[in-house]
């Protein structure tokens, strides 16, 4: 709707240090002495980062520790292990449905994301560029849809899914996840489409291109960074989704990773921790790897949705 004061957000700069701000802030940092910087900057920063990352270290460590070390805190130092084992991962991969669950999650996430991106591209283009009657109102309604949380929809959706005969099938998730993803990605793509100059479209119209051709051949190639952002963010949201998957799926082999780990691995076994953490780690790794490659796109997706 409106841009922020003074300067619009330069997304690449949020993560890279090469912000224009960085050049100037050098100018004022001489005002601070080194000891003062350590106390006011490095120390609190280290504490926060350690707290933020500790659970992952703990997850990874637990998943490679032998069982007896996990439960005997007196004889072994719990913060490290000298004889890592892949027993828990082996159990996960060959003695459980884990590969199945991983595949289900991936399949649902990709299908739902692709469906939502297609629908959102069309919707965002229509709202921003076709500007049909009531386009602004529809844009506002889509933003409101973004604010409707799954936790107030899952009960009626469960009855709807049941009526349509989709209960306990991946289709239930593929069709319901877009309700979370479409508002978000439409809003994000609207922001990207607005930055594409009108003149390009006008030229194409004069040369006889249809709206469809303009969208496919001109707008989409220019909006590729936005599409990547929307895609990976939607994918992450799908992977993360829990309550729909918990409600709509019943049979063990159909479940997605988050639901399956919570329901199938949590038994009374005192030795469950190793495989539980191995499962959690293996379920997070695909997203973390994706994130490592597309850090800037994640940030632009996050800030883009808030900025508008």
């Amino acid at each position: 709707m409106t841009d922020l004061p003074t300067r619009s957000i330069d997304l690449k700069n949020v993560l890279s240090g090469s912000a224009p701000t960085a050049d100037h802030s050098e100018g004022m940092s001489y005002l601070q002495s080194v000891p003062r910087r350590i106390v006011t900057l490095y120390l609190p920063l280290t504490i926060i980062v350690v707290v933020l990352l500790f659970p992952f270290y703990w997850m990874a460590l637990t998943s490679v520790k032998p069982d007896e070390q996990l439960l005997d805190l007196d004889r072994y130092n719990p913060f490290w292990t000298w004889n890592p084992t892949f027993k828990h991962f082996h159990k996960l991969l060959f003695e459980s449905y884990y590969p199945h669950w991983l595949w289900n999650t991936m399949y649902v996430a990709i299908c739902a994301t692709v469906l939502s991106i297609i629908a959102s591209v069309l919707a965002a283009y229509a709202i921003v560029r076709l500007r049909y009657k009531g386009a602004n109102l529809v844009g506002g309604l889509i933003f409101l849809a973004y604010l409707v949380p799954p936790s107030i929809l899952f009960i009626p959706l469960a009855t709807v899914v049941f009526q349509y005969g989709l209960f306990d099938s991946p289709m239930a998730l593929i069709l319901t996840y877009p309700t979370i993803l479409i508002p978000f990605s439409t809003w994000l793509l609207m922001g990207y489409f607005k930055t594409i100059p009108f003149e390009l479209e006008e030229c194409a119209l004069i040369d006889g291109a249809s709206r469809w051709q303009i969208l496919i051949k001109i707008v989409l190639p220019l909006a590729i960074p936005g599409l990547i952002s929307a895609f990976i963010f939607c994918f992450t949201l799908c992977w993360n989704e829990f309550i729909y998957a918990l409600t709509f799926l019943q049979s063990t082999s159909n479940k997605t990773v988050p639901v399956a780990i919570v329901n199938e691995f949590v038994d009374g076994d005192i030795y469950r921790w190793g495989s539980l953490m191995a499962g959690a780690l293996a379920g997070s790794l695909p997203l973390v790897i994706l994130y490592a490659f597309f850090v800037e796109h994640y940030v632009s997706a996050m800030t883009g949705a808030v900025k508008e």
Binding site: I9, L122, L130, L147, S151, I155, F198, I243, T247
Partner: protein, 318 residues
């Protein structure tokens, strides 16, 4: 301007525009076709269920049985239900404490990350990892960290000589609340910090230089430059944060499932328990419908935040 061209295409000189041409070239019809897939999803799986949910809350539907309209009986029932009120209290406590701390720590972290230092890019990327990892999976890590017997925190505190017995983190009502709130803050801080950092980078450094020349302290720099310029983005970020904290489900479900003695039951988890596990769809729907007024309040706050932002910039409300 582009539309003028379309309009002239739609009315060729030599024949009248047929109905088919209208469907193909008219701006409003084209808009309709382009909106169709998104609207179909949102109407069938969002708007319709939203209405259906409110309707269900006025019926006595159970799983496998169509309900009768029973008026506001579900709500009357909830009004006298101590567990429901406990869940409302828990939800408000959870939302207020977690959101306030998320805001404070997130803003602080954003300010720290905005400083010039080595490995800046890598640090910023690392901070966001808790936001990327699925909530349930990190909640499981917290479950293990807060285990009653083998908690690493209890172990460390014991070895430091601060406590003599293990803390029963998730078994004690107060501790359980603290733990779930901590886990929620842990998960939410990166989002708040990174979005506020994006806002911070739009603030021109020359403002700080000018203020410092005029003798402003660091606190005054923050209070009179950073904070006012950041207010609009804070309003939006905090609305999202409050909204998603209020309706949180997965973190609680993975860590405590509402226990011990309902001390961590939020409205979302209670509605799941009543509707899906106990099968009382009508009552569960009433609990989740009871969240709607709170959500509307949060949206209103966001709306007025945005209004103020336009007013501050001296722009017209377009």
């Amino acid at each position: 301007m582009a539309d003028v061209v379309v309009a002239s295409q739609a009315k060729p000189q030599f024949r009248e525009a047929s109905a088919w041409d209208q469907l193909k070239y008219n701006r409003n019809w084209l808009g309709f076709w382009f909106m169709l897939p998104a609207m179909a999803f949102l109407i069938f799986f969002l708007a319709y269920p939203l209405g259906l949910g409110i309707w269900l809350s006025f019926t006595d539907t159970r799983i496998g049985r169509v309900g009768q309209f029973i008026g506001i009986e579900n709500y009357q029932w909830l009004w006298d239900d101590a567990i429901f009120w406990l869940s409302v209290f828990n939800t408000l406590l959870y939302t207020i404490v977690a959101s306030a701390l998320k805001f404070a720590i997130g803003l602080y972290l954003a300010l720290l990350l905005n400083e010039n230092m080595p490995f800046k890019a890598m640090l910023r990327a690392m901070v966001l990892i808790p936001f990327i990892v699925p909530t349930v999976l990190s909640a499981l890590a917290f479950w293990w960290i807060f285990d009653s017997q083998f908690s690493i925190i209890s172990w460390s505190l014991k070895h430091l000589g601060l406590i003599s017995q293990n803390i029963n983190f998730l078994g004690d009502t107060t501790w359980a609340r603290i733990c779930v709130i901590f886990a929620n803050i842990w998960r939410g801080v990166p989002f708040v910090a990174i979005t506020l950092l994006a806002g911070l980078q739009t603030v021109s450094p020359s403002l700080y230089e000018a203020a410092t020349l005029d003798g402003a302290t660091r606190w005054q720099n923050f209070r009179y430059i950073t904070y006012p310029l950041l207010t609009p983005i804070i309003a939006v970020v905090m609305t999202f944060s409050v909204l998603f904290t209020f309706t949180d489900f997965q973190l609680i479900w993975a860590m405590t499932r509402g226990g011990p003695v309902n001390a961590t039951h939020l409205m979302a988890t209670l509605s799941y328990q009543r509707a899906i596990i106990a099968g009382q769809l009508g009552e569960g729907a009433a609990i989740s419908s009871a969240m709607i007024p709170f959500l509307l309040a949060a949206i209103m706050v966001s709306w007025f935040g945005l209004q103020r932002r336009k007013w501050q910039q001296g722009e017209s409300n377009d």
